[in-house]
């Protein structure tokens, strides 16, 4: 199970929302969103509405996975 952690602050809430709409499971661990999936986690940047500074600093942690894309279009975490 791949897990992506995102701190729950106002700028990041749409990241978790878009992840959930894309089929990932979104829970909470302490003050973090825990976004999990059996396969790849893909989040469309434009759907999040995040400005670039927020987008490129929204990832707090990645467990059992690897970021294979993090650019102006999308963030994708594949299983390790």
């Amino acid at each position: 199970m791949t897990a992506l952690y995102v701190l729950d602050v106002p700028e990041n809430t749409t990241v978790a929302k878009v992840a959930a709409e894309s089929g990932a499971t979104v829970g909470k661990v302490g003050p973090y969103f825990e976004i999990t999936a059996d396969g790849p986690i893909v989040i469309d940047r434009r759907a999040t509405g995040c400005r670039h500074a927020v987008w490129y600093s929204c990832v707090a942690g990645v467990a059992d996975g690897k970021i294979v894309q993090h650019d102006k279009n999308a963030l994708q975490v594949d299983p390790a």
Binding site: E11, A60, I67
Partner: protein, 205 residues
């Protein structure tokens, strides 16, 4: 057990200048920072120390920005990039040259725009205005080439961000004290720390 935190901000940060007239124009006349202290000192010591003026501007909060002007001292490097203290050749990437800077805090957007207005009518107009993660900043370079930023918080920092910062630093130290540090390793280590600690630390904030 945290050590008691007793310091009270910046007393002064000091920089050399070869252009005291421009420096006073920029900080006192354009920005409106009062001159609050100055020392006229005859050179002394074993190194042929030049005579110098050490002068201070109030940057708010009783904190001060200070300059040294040394009579008769020639510039100490001939590089085209950087500032009068540190010069860089064409091989040095721009992000590195721009990494060292002074950021001065203002209360709100109105004050940020007021300093933008003062700079934009001067010889040193604002070069960029950027909304970062949670702060908004304007930037220019002073007459000595030092990068100066004015910044305002777009919202208060929350307790969970302080917690996250501490997890980042613990993960960073673990990663940089092991071979081949990378961003991917930091995020993996931080995920471990989040799972280990986030619950009980969150309960404390």
């Amino acid at each position: 057990m945290a050590l008691e935190h007793k310091v009270r901000g910046v007393d002064h940060a000091a920089f050399p200048t070869f252009d005291p007239a421009g420096t006073v124009r920029f900080y006192r006349d354009v920005l409106g920072f009062p001159v609050v202290h100055s020392i006229c000192a005859a050179g002394w010591g074993p190194e042929n120390h030049p005579d110098f003026i050490h002068f201070f501007f109030d940057i708010g909060n009783d904190d001060r920005l200070a300059f040294f002007y040394y009579f008769g001292l020639e510039p100490q490097h001939t590089q085209q990039r950087g500032d009068v203290y540190a010069g860089f050749g064409p091989e040095v990437p721009e992000f590195f040259v721009r990494s060292r800077h002074l950021a001065i805090h203002v209360d709100d957007e109105a004050d940020l725009l007021e300093y933008r207005r003062r700079l934009d009518v001067s010889e040193w107009p604002v070069e960029m205005q950027i909304q970062h993660e949670t702060i908004e900043s304007i930037y220019t370079h002073d007459p000595n080439g030092y990068m100066v930023e004015f910044t305002r918080a777009m919202r208060p920092v929350t307790p969970q961000e302080d917690l996250d910062a501490n997890l980042t630093i613990d993960a960073l130290i673990d990663v940089v004290t092991a071979p081949d540090p990378s961003f991917g390793k930091l995020l993996a280590r931080k995920a471990e720390l989040i799972v280990e600690r986030a619950d009980w630390e969150a309960a404390q904030v």
